[in-house]
């Protein structure tokens, strides 16, 4: 306690007179720079910013407007928009949350204290931050995102998977799927920028279903997923996930595991309930129109699904014994259990789609018949034939095509494989067959001697990096930059694959033009060589000469308009046979074609 009774002194204040003798404190007139880490005005590295709008979402004062700057790049596939934040300093409160949430780290604040102007110059309060700052002079960065201040979780939840030694001798699914905690944590990383939606060929509402997962409402997530994709189990497992390439969290961190989240949502709701949910969207009445779809793969069945839920009668003709197309006959079971594919197909048939298996168009039924019996026909036959390198010796009986072998494994459950196998190709099909063969070798020979040779250097492989890693874990030897020259055959026996080293693979325009180093020759011993390179269809055979002749073609593929309609008004084409191989693209195509057919049929209804 102070001395409350102190009466004070009248003289003590006079001591302050001593200040007259002290030097005056002077401050220079020039503006001084603020401290490191000061929250001044915005700076934005335009080359780093992807226009994701996260800054706008976190801004509690609605101070940020997204402005389209046409001169900047705009690439949906890469997750880059030409939008940039403009800041209204009449609203900004300099909290720097925009900096701390920025997924790319392009935003920072400057070390300037002051901006002021007259009422006439009020427009200067609204500015598009760039690298230099609002006054045209760069004074250095003030507040920048640090590891501590970063508001984003850049690390993906690790997906549990069975270790290589447990998976290499069987075809059980490899990944465990997310636990609820993992899914929640993973979903919480999303900033809802929608880059994934824009990059997805079928425009999946990933931000919405991720949010639903985060909110613990898996049924709602399923509802969002089925908005755009009836192959939800399939895509939750084997989608090429372009969404993840575009994810803005992926700019500095690992992108959200969008595909695994979809898998989680789909697995989290019972098959029964999923069917009930999907039935919500079924049209109440039948339209009386009939549509035939040729090929029960993702494109064909998506078309059928869309048309069926709109009330059209759809019959799908499938030449093989079971529906599913490439997901069944091309993708090994350790990536996609047949049961999950069956569930997707059951959901589709529950919508009223009829699938007739073992009815091959061109044999049991002709296109002409379909044309007569149905109001519209969709060709969705995929690319089921493997290309051959046609190098010397490639006509040997033990030189096989990957797609055919994979199909054989699906149909027969297993095949006999030799002790040494060489695969040609660096795509996902090559990995699929290599890992399948590796498993069969482990079962039949007790060890894995599978070699993958690809023209590409490893960083240019078309296969998913995870596939390459997992293949290596399972004992597959990856030989990048090898150009196949000859399947060496001696005395009628396939001996090996002879390859040359590839010195360069692309020309200056980025086109495929391998150059070989002939001195770098290797012979990979092989009892079987599997070619896993390009794929093609046999559309012309199936269509018949007449129809093939009538139709218009574009560079060897059926010519279709943007809605998938061919030059024949009753015939549409969808999927890989039009676009090249990709499951999610096929689904997107299915939707497009179905929409077009629906419009045409309804138009016909109106005029009739």
């Amino acid at each position: 306690m102070s001395d409350y009774n102190d009466e004070g002194s009248l003289l003590r204040p006079l001591r302050a007179l001593s200040f007259l003798g002290r030097p005056a404190v002077t401050e220079p007139l020039e503006p001084r720079l603020a401290a490191e880490g000061y929250r001044g005005f915005h700076l934005n590295e335009h080359a780093e910013c992807v226009g994701c709008s996260s800054c706008q979402k976190i801004c509690d004062n609605a101070a940020i407007t997204m402005v389209e700057v046409p001169e900047l790049p705009n690439d949906e596939a890469k997750g880059i928009r030409n939008l940039r934040p403009a800041v209204d300093y009449g609203r900004c409160c300099w909290c720097a949350l925009c900096v701390d949430i920025c997924p790319t780290g392009s935003l920072s604040l400057s070390k300037e204290y002051v901006h002021t102007c007259t009422q006439e110059e009020i427009d200067s309060y609204f500015m598009l931050p760039n690298e230099t700052g609002m006054h045209g002079t760069f004074y250095g960065k003030g507040w920048q995102k640090t590891e501590t201040s970063d508001l984003l979780d850049l690390q993906r939840q690790e997906m549990g998977e069975r270790p290589a030694e447990l998976r290499v001798d069987n075809f059980d699914e490899i990944v465990d799927g997310f636990t609820p905690e993992q899914a929640m944590a993973e979903a919480s990383r999303c900033v809802q920028c929608g880059m994934c939606h824009d990059a997805c060929p079928t425009g999946m509402d990933a931000p919405e279903y991720i949010r639903s997962i985060y909110e613990g409402d898996l049924e709602q997530a399923v509802r969002w997923i089925y908005q755009s994709n009836p192959f939800s189990h399939v895509c939750g497992r084997v989608c090429t996930h372009r969404c993840e390439d575009a994810c803005s969290i992926g700019v500095r961190g690992t992108p959200l595991a969008i595909r695994w989240l979809k898998r989680y949502a789909m697995d989290g709701v019972s098959h029964q309930r999923i069917q009930e949910i999907t039935q919500e969207q079924r049209a109440a009445e039948s339209t009386g129109h009939t549509v035939a779809v040729v090929g029960a793969g993702p494109a064909g069945l998506t078309t059928a699904w869309d048309l069926a839920r709109k009330g059209h009668k759809v019959v799908v003709y499938e030449s093989r014994q079971q529906p599913g197309g490439m997901p069944r006959y091309g993708i090994p079971e350790y990536r996609l259990p047949y049961e999950m594919l069956d569930r997707d197909i059951e959901t589709i048939t529950a919508m009223g789609v009829e699938i007739r298996c073992g009815e091959e168009v061109g044999k049991q039924v002709t296109m002409e018949q379909l044309q007569q019996e149905y109001d519209a026909v969709v060709l969705a036959i995929g690319l089921h034939l493997g290309r051959s390198t046609r190098i010397p010796g490639s006509d040997h009986a033990h030189v096989r095509s990957a797609v055919e072998l994979l199909r054989q494994v699906t149909e027969e459950g297993t095949i006999e494989v030799p002790e040494e196998v060489v695969v040609i190709g660096g795509g996902n099909v090559a990995m699929d067959i290599a890992r399948t063969v590796a498993r069969l070798q482990r079962q039949q020979w007790g060890g894995v001697k599978t070699v993958v040779t690809a023209l590409e250097a490893e960083e240019n492989f078309l296969a998913d990096p995870a596939e390459i890693r997992e293949a290596a874990e399972e004992g597959v030897t990856i030989c990048p930059s090898r150009g196949p020259q000859e399947c060496v055959v001696e005395a009628g026996q396939l001996q090996s694959l002879r390859t040359w080293g590839v010195c360069s693979i692309f020309d200056q325009q980025g086109r495929f033009a391998p150059h070989y180093d002939e001195g770098d020759e290797q012979c990979h011993p092989a009892g079987m060589v599997i070619e896993a390179i390009g794929q093609m269809s046999n559309a012309d055979q199936l269509l018949g000469d007449m129809l093939t002749e009538r139709l218009e073609w574009d560079r060897g593929r059926l010519q279709v308009c943007e809605n998938g309609r061919t030059s024949e008004t009753w015939l549409w084409a969808a999927g890989d046979c039009v676009n090249g191989p990709d499951v999610v693209h096929a689904v997107a195509d299915g939707h497009r074609v179905a929409t077009s057919i629906d419009e045409v049929l309804r138009g016909a209804l109106k005029h009739a």
Binding site: G8, R12, L97
Partner: protein, 380 residues
């Protein structure tokens, strides 16, 4: 109230006059009004009139993401903003069950105490000005600026630090910062004799302040007075010591009191508190180099963060007294309710009305400033 809306109170013809203190008045931190009736120089009736700084913070907070409110709350008390963000963060942490890393707790204590020093310096200046002493006013404001320099350096903002997040603090202290804190504290300590000469022990000031605006302990308790104003009436209660938070339990400090409960006693309590705060900051400065670890327990992506349903009542001791946040979550991305219990809402309304009654006109402003009434806390 705007001038055009002002209606003169009809009072009986007498020698009583009505005076308006505020809403713009140098004796008020911010905008606030006190309508007083005087007879001669004596105040016979007073009525507080608030709302000039009402920005609807509590309503706004119900419409914003949990962490967006961090940018909002410091604005509720301009002279002492740091307790606002710390208290809000604490309330959210309690609901969400977030442990704050130790280092962050120490840094928060440093922030709070630096803020208290700045706020008290400001109050000294303001109080001095209401008694006609302008040099201490300039000193108070200028020396406070040195603390603001420190804030600028470690939080990125001079006034509104926006330095806390639920879970911890936003960034590491700059290189060599603790030394600069020590230097500034040394300087402020060295200034105290100057303040004593010109202000605390200035006979003129003592004469003016003694016996003005007396809150005896019983009255203080009855009216819910807290903080320095309560301690000036002899009750040694301090939230930091008696309902401890952060790492205050590990710190040594006194809870200074006075008995008289008048304007001077309140100022003396603040002066002692300033010394205690310097003492606390020095302890933090000494301890911090040995306290490693993270600064922040990560929270989920703030754009989606849902704080689990629940409620909490977080209290801190601000420079003005007991500051509390009552926060209710319904489990969504934004608070369902945030109630800010500003300490001034007690001593700036009912207490003030009571204290100026019977006093003299010239003491009204002094009474307000000696209570450290902060209108934005009342208005929110």
């Amino acid at each position: 109230m705007r001038a055009e809306n002002y209606q003169q109170i009809n009072h009986p013809p007498s020698h009583a006059f009505e005076l308006n203190f505020g809403p713009n008045h140098p004796g008020i931190e911010g905008n606030y009004a006190l309508q007083v009736q005087v007879e001669g120089d004596t105040v016979v009736q007073a009525r507080a009139d608030g709302g000039y700084l009402h920005r609807g913070f509590e309503k706004l907070m119900e419409q914003r993401l949990w962490i967006q409110n961090i940018a909002l709350v410091p604005r509720i008390c301009v002279p002492d903003p740091s307790p606002m963000e710390v208290c809000y963060s604490m309330a959210v942490e309690q609901i969400a069950g977030i442990e704050v890393p130790e280092r962050a707790q120490w840094i928060r204590v440093m922030q709070l105490e630096l803020s208290r020093i700045a706020a008290h310096l400001f109050t000294f200046g303001g109080h001095a000005a209401t008694t006609g002493m302008y040099s201490p006013m300039f000193w108070g404001v200028a020396d406070r600026d040195l603390i603001l320099d420190l804030f600028e350096e470690f939080t990125g903002g001079r006034i509104y630090s926006i330095y806390n997040l639920p879970g911890g603090v936003r960034r590491e202290l700059p290189e060599g910062f603790l030394q600069r804190v020590t230097d500034t504290l040394d300087y402020i300590e060295s200034r105290l004799p100057d303040y004593d000469d010109l202000f605390f022990k200035n006979r003129v000031f003592i004469k003016r302040a003694k016996g003005v605006g007396v809150t005896e302990q019983a009255m203080a308790l009855e009216y819910g007075v807290t903080g320095p104003n309560l301690r000036a009436a002899g009750l040694p209660f301090d939230v930091r010591r008696d309902d401890p938070y952060l790492v205050y339990e590990q710190l040594e400090f006194e809870v200074p009191t006075e008995e008289a409960g008048d304007a001077w006693a309140r100022t003396l309590v603040r002066r002692s508190e300033l010394i205690e705060s310097i003492r606390i900051v020095r302890q933090v400065v000494a301890a911090l180099p040995d306290i490693g670890g993270p600064l922040r327990t990560p929270i989920p992506n703030p754009l989606a963060w849902r704080v689990p349903a629940g409620e909490s009542y977080a209290r801190v001791e601000s420079s003005k007294g007991e500051l509390a946040y009552y926060v209710v979550s319904d489990g969504s991305e934004k608070p369902w309710r945030v109630h800010v219990r500003g300490p001034s809402s007690m001593h700036a309304v009912q207490v003030l009305e009571e204290l100026v009654k019977g006093g003299r006109i010239e003491d009204v402003a002094q009474t307000m400033f000696s209570l450290d009434a902060c209108p934005p806390e009342v208005d929110r």
